[in-house]
Amino acid sequence: MTSALLAVDLGKRYGRKWALSGCTLDIPTGHVVGLVGPNGAGKTTLLHLAVGLLSPSSGSLMVLDEAPASSAEQLGRIGFVAQDTPVFENLSIATHLQMGAALNPKWDEQLAQQRILELGLDPNQRAGRLSGGQRAQLALTLAIAKRPSLLLLDEPVASLDPLARREFLATLMEVVAEHEVSVILSSHLVADLERVCDYVVVLASARVQVNGEIENLLSTHHRLVGSRRNLDNLPESAHVIEVSHTDRQTTAIVSSADPILDPSWSVEEMTLEDLVLAYMGQAEEQRRVLLRSNGGAK
């Protein structure tokens, strides 16, 4: 099976700061992947590496089994919508479509025309005059009409109002259903992803914290609530992600392939948001510990 994205120990450094490091991922095709993490976690860096705008400082990366931007064909198989959806301000919508047709071998003119028509946009309008939502839709149209095998979208809805956000995601889901395209979509808001994604990658502090199919992740992660205690009696396969105590009670989020059978715990189901927040909290905690130990060394 081909991988949509296969990264081995991938890293990108700016000066002395690593924007992404030790990233090992194997995302199969056929998923809508949510790439989630706080601002500055490395989401844009990972997507720019995937589309060949950046080249890695370490490790390797294959996208649809080829090095990113290695050929015109490879570029043609990937639709990319960059953050803040850049368009050529002084060119009209029609000219943008002409550009797409001229530069992409598999360009679907009919699809592009139809999308502009459905969106109610005037083809002669200059792209600089479009609203944020319309511009995002234009950028998505350009990416879709390439008929890509993989769509990469970098915070496509971050700057949109709730209505435009919903319309954008609805369009995206139609495309996925119609054209069997894999999608990797970044966002710092879990709510956006919950509706559309079936696979999640949590990036925080320049590292991948967890990744996998959402269904699997939710069935192997549990929130345990019980009377206050140490966490010694958990099964071997269980990893504690997050633990908090009150005077009387202990709450823990653990990942465990085996079911938690200890009757003294009440086991609760988790939402995607809980899961993501737990891993982001873990990354933040590790960062603080690291800072403290570095400070102590000095």
């Binding site: 950046l54 015109a72 043609g76 850049p86």
Partner: protein
Amino acid sequence: MTWFAWRQFRSQALVVFGLLVAVAVVFLITGPHFASLFHDLKTCRAKGDCESITSSLTSGQDTYFPFAQAFSLLLPALLGLFWGAPLVARELESGTYRLAWTQGVTRKRWISTKLAVVGAASMLAGGLMSWMLTWWASPIDTVNADRFSSLVFDTSYIAPIGYAAFAFALGVTAGVLWRRTLPAMATTLAFYVAVRVPFFHFIRPHLLTPVRQIRSLKNVGNIGFERTPNGLSFIAGDTNLPNSLNFSSSVVGDHGGEVTRQWLRDHCRSMLQQVPPNPGKGVKVTTGIRPEAFTECVDKITAAFHQVLLYQPANRFWTFQWIETAIFLVLAVLLGGLSYWWVRRRIA
């Protein structure tokens, strides 16, 4: 990609080529008038009224020429600023590089097509302006007979094609390195001037070994004496060599040496005695000198000294045009190569 490179460049191209059309209209209106004056000048010798024709030809020059020459001189710099500098910088600045470089076209092809399309347009614009100016100004250039002067050499014939290519490539390179349009434009202008001005002052005269010629002082105009704090010193003007690039001229004795004050004291005593010791301000050097004494002294100098000229003769004009064009084209190719490499390898 060629179509899209042109499409993005179209409005900038229209501005410059629109200006060139305006210049062409002015030239077409005024050009035939100069040409007919020049025709009259060639036939006037029989009738003898050449002076009025020459003066109306040169007064026409005073009205239009500074503008035409300034425009031809500035055009390459403008191309570098407004075509070269934004070519890549504006894409990086506005973020549209993320759209442009993720279409089904490699970055290699993107940058090479852009360089080729806009670079060719720059050379075309520079060449057109030069060609129009060369045609329009040919009567006056013939009368003035100073093709090697900077105002003619740098604005006409083929050299402006090289300048245009160079300025464009300089602009692109500055834009690629700065990644922002405005500082790139400032850098382009600064470097363009910093290359062109020293080139024409210091490098052009040395491109070929100058011709050395020894001439009798009899043919030299503007011979005379100059008052200095230490007494009189001899001066001689340049010999007029039409269309040549004068390098240096000096007065040398038949057995070496210059016209020193000691030599003047030894040989022109009768003249020196007539020079008032403290003439006061504003008094002419020759005040109080009898013409016979002056002529006698000059004759003695002419007999013992000659003028040594170093210059690039008129028949080397085209050689110099080709050399200079080639040098600037090579610089343009090197800068273009640097931008190409930088866009492919360093912006990542």
